[in-house]
Subunit: 352 residues, 2 copies
């Protein structure tokens, strides 16, 4: 597959490998440290990494951990692989007797770097699931600085489905959980970093059961918890790199030419790449341009092999204001990676 | 199945049969006139009936009508039944080469009655689909009077999925379409008839793709278009009449004991019944009581046979303030029916 010359991967990739991450509980193993949200915090690059864990597996069984809603304690669920009630055809899902579980439980863990290339990760979870909508874990943080606070949007997974939630922090040590953004099924919340004509805006990605495709939608609101004015922005394109699904990456970036959004698309082989979308500055429901080809394509062992092979999933960047972005992304649902790209170079690919 | 003694079906059932309904276009046939929204308007019972139409079918083919987004004109799509790209295993859905369509296109048609028992229906559509999110039609209206206006919430179906929309009217002749309430997939919007502590409330029913069940959710907002503060209220109950899915009926009814919501539940045979839910007056996310058994169960040829056999689907009532409700409901996704029930009798079933 064509590799774009505008992207320069860090020589330090993978920045974080699950083998370097300390499990949060005895008896658990870390499967993945991936899909990092990112921001510049106190002059340093800060990643909010999704750490996925599962119980150490026993021969003949598959087991997973869920949070008990009442006690907040982890409990282990174990299923015999030869049990006819078990459906384990998707490596991310366990279905047993009509009830679905995920095979791992994720939390967020902070990793910090002064140079943006070598990261030191905390030994314990920074933010973990709590309450009824996060019993199967929290996933894929996006960080946006807005009105002087850092807001973290993320996916909560539970028996209520896959939904999106919001938290805020000033210091990345204490967090306030603010509640649900969109009801299930929804993912990939990318909140715009400023209001447009007085309203907040966000991208989101509903998942559809019967009809229609997994498209990127836009919503707006007078605050960050009541959302409406939904519009569908872009859909998968038949026969292209983004033919199966699309979803927002991190927050849109304001440029003189429009809001630049780096989004993911997957094809029928569930190969995830990153492309770009340019939205009108004042009327962000107007799509000015969209990548013909992705500029970030899975390449090398960290991205082409792993838990979900051929996946790059970008949901965080650090913008130092010099025209270069440090892009962060998950490789193969397993490791965290980085790359630099010039904003002008992405914009120039949208003019072809 | 047990028939509750508290419900008294109208002797005039079915109130509306599709054979009595004039097609909206030449070449179309009316499949159903069902799932009526209802309100008291100028002293009369007004139904807002879902009229489902399809092209007159030809041997060896299945065809459906969709609205062209640009022109607003109906166009006919025709598929050979022996085409291997066609999947027609669900009578409500046509899947062809990865794209989904519905087998009929619905609009709303007004029917009025002075006595509430015999209805006269308009000869032409009262409100039809328009715009990109209604190209496969509009379905299942609920009517609520709020702030002096009649608001109609309904389902819009299109290639963007199944979503919920809002319209308003003063006279049931001209309507203002106000836009999307919830992004797809969502249905079964039942807006509370007054604000609670300054906020509007609604019930809704997301459909879930991977994990979780089709449950009734509550949301609130400062206006009728921006919604948040989502909470899941009730889920399907394994082994019961409502084990497969639940969804709101019409608007909740204020009683001294709480908000009374008449909701539908379906079992594994997709038999739809109606039961009741009692919610706290001030904190409507608190469920006070829920029907052990449904009080409205499919019975007789209009409900046990038809397009979708064994379905009663209630989404409208007329409340004359005398303690009796005229309940309206669809039978078998084909006809419109009515029944009376005393509010006190429903409440008493919730005390067992």
């Amino acid at each position: 597959m064509f590799q774009s010359p505008i992207v320069h991967r860090f020589p330090t990739n993978p920045l974080i490998h699950p083998s370097q991450v300390k499990p949060s509980h005895p008896g658990l193993e870390v499967l993945g440290a991936f899909n990092p949200g990112a921001t510049l915090f106190e002059g340093k690059s800060l990643l909010f990494v999704r750490v996925a864990e599962r119980p150490v597996q026993e021969k003949g069984y598959v087991s997973t951990a869920v949070m008990d809603e009442e006690s907040g304690e982890l409990k282990i669920l174990r299923f015999r692989l030869d049990d006819p009630k078990l459906d384990f055809s998707d490596p991310r899902l366990i279905r047993y007797d009509g009830v679905g579980y995920v095979t791992s439980i994720s939390h967020f863990r902070k990793a910090v770097s002064a140079d943006g290339r070598v990261f030191t990760m905390d030994d314990a979870p920074t933010l973990a699931g709590s309450g009824p909508h996060e019993t199967y874990g929290i996933e894929d943080a996006r960080i946006v600085k807005l009105d002087g606070l850092y807001y973290i949007s993320y996916t909560g997974v539970s028996k209520s489905g896959v939904l999106t939630l919001l938290a805020s922090t000033r210091d990345f040590q204490s967090f306030e959980k603010l509640g649900i953004i969109f009801a299930p099924d929804n993912k990939d919340i990318a909140i715009f970093p400023e209001r447009i004509n007085g309203r907040y805006y966000t991208l989101h990605r509903p998942a559809l059961k019967h009809l229609g495709a997994m498209a990127i939608w836009l919503a707006s609101g007078e605050n960050l918890l009541d959302w409406g004015h939904h519009r569908d922005l872009i859909s998968p394109r038949p026969g292209r790199w983004d033919c199966e699904r699309v979803g927002a990456g991190a927050s849109p970036i304001k440029t003189s030419e429009g809001w630049l959004e780096l989004y993911h698309g997957a094809d029928n082989n569930i190969r995830y790449c990153t492309g770009a979308l340019l939205l009108d500055l004042e009327e962000p429901w107007k799509v000015i341009a969209r990548s013909g080809d992705p500029f970030l394509v899975p390449h090398g062992p960290c991205e082409e092999t792993g838990f979900m092979p051929n996946v790059v999933f970008h949901n965080g960047f650090v913008d130092r204001g010099d025209g270069q972005l440090d892009l962060f992304y998950g490789g193969a649902d397993e490791v965290s990676c980085g790359a630099t790209v010039a904003i002008a170079d992405i914009l120039s690919t949208l003019k072809c």
